[in-house]
Symmetry: C2
Subunit: 227 residues, 2 copies
């Protein structure tokens, strides 16, 4: 836990965070009692789980095992720490993205993206969602019942779809091997994804093209498209 941080007296105040690991030039003054990387990793997990605004400085300092002024000295304010956490996430849990993009064919790229994502999201040790979404989504503890209500609401919509697709199957409108649950979840996934697209600033035309792709490629191609 010692590993004295090096960064010899710098002129620039920022970027003092000392990403370097084993420089031989020790600097004067009391040495840091914590490991920057470990602290940043802990901060990332908290942000990942609770979102930016849902995370208080007390949450952070407790998880990181340091106190407030140390945090500010080492990482800057809360926002700067969050940005560093994003970086950490990109190089850590989300590193499968880079690997996926290096796959040899488009299909394998897509497959690696989707499967890697599920592996990350489905791991019970991880918070439920990608930091890029969860970071802005999860909010304070006071909003917990509201968050639950929203989850219930979204699930309710999905359940309505399931019911409708069950009827469709009974009416010979869906291939029997296609589970109504799976189809409903897939459609719900696209719908919720579109919400994020809108938040990203996607235009109506852009979203429409996503819809066209979704429709054209529906696994229900043997459905009649007319009444």
């Amino acid at each position: 836990m010692r590993v004295p941080q090096t960064t010899k007296p710098q002129t620039t105040k920022l970027k003092t965070t000392s990403t370097e690991t084993a420089n031989s030039t020790p600097k004067p003054g009391r040495p840091r009692s914590f490991c920057d990387q470990a602290a940043l990793e802990a901060a990332m997990r908290v942000f990942w789980e609770k979102g930016y605004e849902g995370t208080s400085l007390t949450d952070l300092t407790e998880a990181m095992g340091i106190n407030r002024p140390s945090l500010y000295a080492a990482f800057g304010d809360k926002e700067a720490l969050f940005l560093k956490a994003i970086e950490q996430y990109t190089n850590g849990p989300a590193s499968y993205l880079r690997q996926a993009l290096a796959e040899p064919t488009a299909y394998r790229v897509i497959e690696a993206l989707l499967r890697g994502s599920v592996k990350l999201l489905g791991d019970p040790h991880n918070p439920r969602g990608c930091l890029s979404v969860q970071g802005g989504l999860a909010c304070g503890a006071a909003a917990e019942p509201v968050k639950q209500a929203l989850v219930a609401w979204r699930k309710h919509g999905e359940a309505e779809m399931v019911k409708r697709f069950r009827r469709a199957r009974a009416e010979g409108d869906l291939p029997a091997e296609l589970d109504p649950h799976d189809l409903a979840r897939y459609i719900a996934t696209v719908l919720n994804g579109l919400s994020i697209q809108a938040a990203n600033g996607a235009t109506k035309a852009e979203m429409t093209r996503v819809v066209e792709l979704t429709l054209r490629s529906l696994p229900t191609q043997n459905l009649s498209k007319t009444v």
Copy 2:
């Protein structure tokens, strides 16, 4: 703006919100100076735009044109008001969902869901996203730069995909009529949707089945699936 609210002296304290419109029994006391429905509509818009925690009581009272005690007397606390706003949203902007589920075939149900969603999300008069996602997503004004950073991050990921798919097309790996932008946005949509699925508590197996559907139905079926 008068329309005296009726609700004759009730025994139950809750549900005093008086959804009824034109009952003939006026009640004693000073009449309400605002229209419940209009106020609720305004509250819904604010919640929709800023999310639950991002909305302060001051935001609400200003948008609704009433002051704090009136809000509490009419709608209960912030959480109760939000739940009523959800209801309002379901019967208003999101009413296309019910209509879509009433379409005659599964394909038309899905098409109506997707197109209705885009119509809602793409309308420049509306906040950018569905309330069911946005309600938990958007946070306080202090988090605005962070939200922007997250948007930029997600867009960056999409841009990386576009670059990769451009290369794939150049390598004869993607059909020429398939725009790399569109494919990337579609994949990003599914990925972000999966994040919401995870937040909903979907299991790894369930998400995997969504991925299988997505892969099996990819509009790139004429791609080689092997190296």
